[in-house]
């Protein structure tokens, strides 16, 4: 239980340290479950760009998570 909460907080922290574009694209896909077509419309970008941007954003998030020290505390909100 504590471990889960700690993981969640770390994810929130890592998310908030991303650029707003990267955070937006990850949230639109993984959180709101929009399709690439819908994300392209929302963000006014080409559909083909969505996959590469999303991949870069996920890689950055993974990197941030790996570099983060284990903490208990932080921001509880996605945005």
């Amino acid at each position: 239980m504590f471990e889960q909460e700690s993981e969640r907080l770390q994810l929130h922290k890592a998310l908030s340290s991303l650029s707003s574009d990267q955070r937006e694209i990850i949230c639109l896909k993984d959180f709101h479950d929009f399709s690439y077509e819908e994300i392209a419309q929302i963000m006014s970008i080409e559909k083909g760009t969505v996959m590469s941007r999303l991949h870069r954003a996920r890689m950055s998030l993974k990197k941030k998570l790996l570099n983060q020290p284990i903490v208990a505390g932080g921001n509880n909100e996605v945005y």
């Binding site: 969640r8 929130h12 959180f31 399709s35 690439y36 996959m51 590469s52 991949h55 998030l61 996605v78």
Partner: protein, 144 residues
């Protein structure tokens, strides 16, 4: 295909956004490449973690919940019923007082009644129009 090309496609593969042919390529590559398979597993775990996050409700959602919860609806309905009943009693009493007042000439009573009746008729006509429009409004259930 090289790892660098596959890496770009891993996200699309996870989100089921690739063509059948591309998916096949990625699947075959993942079976043979440990490096890309590791990235795939990490991305999958991240995606699962992300979808399990809680989303803070917006101020508008909170406001809507406050306006539509049971207490709010009940108190609003009670308020309207009390207000309507009170207003009806007061208006009826005022009309009665006006009509039975001994020192007001009959002609004044008639003219005033005609004037008020005209206003009531106009109000009913506008109310009817509004209700008809509301009934035929295709978008009334659409949440903006």
């Amino acid at each position: 295909m090289k790892c660098i090309e596959i890496e770009e496609l891993i996200s699309g593969y996870l989100d089921a956004e690739l063509t059948q042919q591309e998916s096949q390529k990625v699947r075959l590559h993942l079976e043979t490449c440990e490096h890309c398979e590791q990235i795939h597993c990490e991305m999958l775990a991240l995606k699962k973690q992300m979808s399990a996050l809680s989303y803070p409700p917006s101020d508008l959602d909170r406001l809507e919940d406050l306006e539509t919860d049971l207490t709010a609806s009940l108190s609003a309905a009670t308020g309207w019923i009390l207000l309507g009943t009170g207003a009806l009693i007061v208006i009826a009493f005022a009309i009665y007082q006006f009509l039975v007042a001994p020192d007001t000439p009959l002609l004044v009573k008639i003219f005033n009644s005609v004037f008020v009746l005209g206003g009531v008729c106009l109000f009913i006509s506008v109310l009817r129009q509004r209700l008809m429009t509301l009934k035929h409004d295709k978008y009334r259930k659409v949440k903006l």
